[in-house]
């Protein structure tokens, strides 16, 4: 019996278990998936919790709902990978062997990386919204907050779902306007990037949107410390921004297990071939989702598009054929802009987000780099697609390879 082992049962790992159980015959291949937690979070939903649009219950389901029949599931901490011996050590001395290994252990927030961030104001006046605990704590804080300086700060690149903090400030603008508090809430977006986003056209469009909503932007700010006593963030150049409520996107790092295995870069992401998805240093190890060091967004859509590439290339490896699939870094992000509207960007390693219609050229129904009501519904409908189609590894009506049709240069 040959063994395929998947580490991590989040979005990427669960999709791969579903896809590969269909592909690999059960009399030849044993598939095992390992994760230390039993709860699956619909992470795109975290953004909606601070504003009371979703509750915690809306984003939680048991992981076990999404595993196919015929896959061994182990809930355990992973001690480390020993690639030289094709072995994974779990807690309490349990050892798993593998013929092929898929690493899908994702990324985590690491607030401890910024001095003063996780200090006496943590979850009192300083919050994150990338964890269920942070999103719920912020929701409780906003219920009675009377206003002041609301500062949203991105600690460091790369971070998961690069558009989420922008959506957060758009939602905050609408939320405090609807509560009649907007004139008392000054919103400031503080980012290490030179503008609202990385690529020129999206940066221009999103920058203008920030301006039209009266949201300040402070670019090129690399936070060095959070001063809890004077309630300010300070960057390496000595620039200071005062806050009454700080919403931080903390440093993102790969799983600590990657560090214990000595397989990561300085942020514990695994060096990975950006086209084949094979680990740079190991022939029988593949990496998918946020755990990889790919130069594209850390996002569920990227993991989804990559899953189709990985499925094909893993079969090539198993059957001893040259790789036939090549990942293009495709990402597709619905961006909530508040007041029941949203925008959409679609891009890859080489092509920046462009205007146009999606997914059907000239027809849409979604508009790229445009603010429309339909885009907002696209995002809401996505939660259903996520639970029922995407995680189960079923086909989605979007190509894994980015398409130029329908886009304007």
């Amino acid at each position: 019996m040959k063994k395929l082992l998947i580490l991590g049962a989040g979005t990427a790992g669960t999709m791969m278990a579903n896809k590969l159980r269909k592909k690999l015959t059960r009399d030849e291949w044993d598939i095992t998936i390992v994760d230390q937690y039993k709860t699956h979070y619909y992470q795109p939903g975290f953004l909606f919790i601070p504003f009371g649009m979703y509750s915690a219950q809306d984003v939680i389901k048991p992981k076990s709902d999404f595993f196919p029949i015929g896959v061994n599931v182990i809930y355990s901490k992973i001690e480390k990978i020993v690639p030289a011996e094709n072995q994974v050590q779990l807690a309490e001395g349990v050892v798993l062997n593998y013929d092929y290994l898929i690493i899908a252990t994702g990324t985590r927030t690491a607030p401890e990386e910024t001095p003063g961030l996780k200090d006496k104001l943590w979850y009192k006046e300083i919050f994150d919204f990338y964890t269920i605990e942070g999103a719920v704590a912020l929701n409780n804080f906003f219920k009675t907050w009377q206003g002041g300086e609301l500062v949203v700060n991105i600690a460091e690149l790369p971070y998961k779902c690069p558009v989420a903090p922008l959506e957060f400030v758009f939602f905050a603008d609408a939320f405090f306007t609807e509560r009649g508090l907007r004139d008392k809430v000054n919103i400031t977006y503080v980012t290490p990037l030179p503008g609202a986003f990385t690529k020129p056209r999206a940066t221009k469009m999103l920058g203008e949107l920030l301006k039209s909503k009266n949201i300040n932007i402070i670019p090129d700010f690399n936070v060095a410390e959070v001063n809890n006593d004077e309630k300010k963030i300070v960057d390496y150049a000595g620039k200071e921004v005062k806050f009454d409520c700080l919403v931080s996107v903390p440093t993102n790092m790969g799983d600590e297990m990657i560090e214990r295995s000595n397989m990561g870069d300085d942020m514990n992401f695994v060096p990975t071939d950006k086209h084949t998805l094979q680990a740079r240093d190991y022939k029988n190890i593949f990496v998918i989702g946020d755990a990889a060091n790919l130069p594209t967004s850390k996002a569920g859509s990227v993991a989804h598009f990559a899953s189709e590439i990985l499925e094909e290339n893993l079969m090539c490896a198993i059957e001893g054929r040259p790789y036939t699939a090549s990942f293009d870094g495709h990402a597709n992000c619905y961006i909530e802009t508040g007041y029941g509207k949203g925008t959409l960007i679609d891009f890859n390693y080489d092509t920046e987000p462009l205007a146009g219609s999606f997914p059907f050229p000239g027809v849409g129904p979604f508009g790229l780099l445009k603010v429309t009501r339909t885009n907002h519904y696209g995002k809401l409908i996505f939660r259903w697609l996520y639970w029922h189609i995407l995680l189960k590894g079923k086909e989605m009506p979007i190509d894994s390879e980015m398409q130029m049709a329908g886009k304007k240069l």
């Binding site: 690149l157 990385t198 690399n222 390496y236 300085d266 130069p295 850390k298």
Partner: protein
């Protein structure tokens, strides 16, 4: 791309003034670019520049975090040495491509 005369030699640069061929870099070229940026290079600057050139030659990405952990300088000193936008300025002076952030 165009050609520019720096410290008496012709080098190839892109539209932002970054060298397009790292092998054309010399200490004299570095001094000339630095003076255009208003920076007078010291030995400590050159230690950072050497670190950057080695990293880039090895195909590794440059980050503030990486520099902070490099043992050459900490992030605060790096900002003092190359004020404003340290990674952009230091790479320009080191004759390597401007770091891209890809998200």
């Amino acid at each position: 791309m165009s050609t520019k005369s720096l410290a008496g030699v012709n080098v190839d640069v892109n539209e932002e003034g970054y060298l397009t061929d790292a092998s054309q870099w010399t200490k004299e070229v570095a001094l000339a670019i630095a003076s255009e940026e208003g920076i007078e290079l010291t030995d400590q600057h050159f230690e950072v520049i050497d670190y950057i050139r080695n990293k880039v030659a090895g195909g590794e990405a440059l980050t503030i975090r990486g520099i902070n952990k490099s043992g050459v300088v900490d992030a605060k000193t790096f900002y003092q040495l190359f004020p404003g936008a340290p990674l952009k300025k230091a790479t320009k002076i080191a004759g390597v491509p401007k770091p891209v952030s890809c998200i």
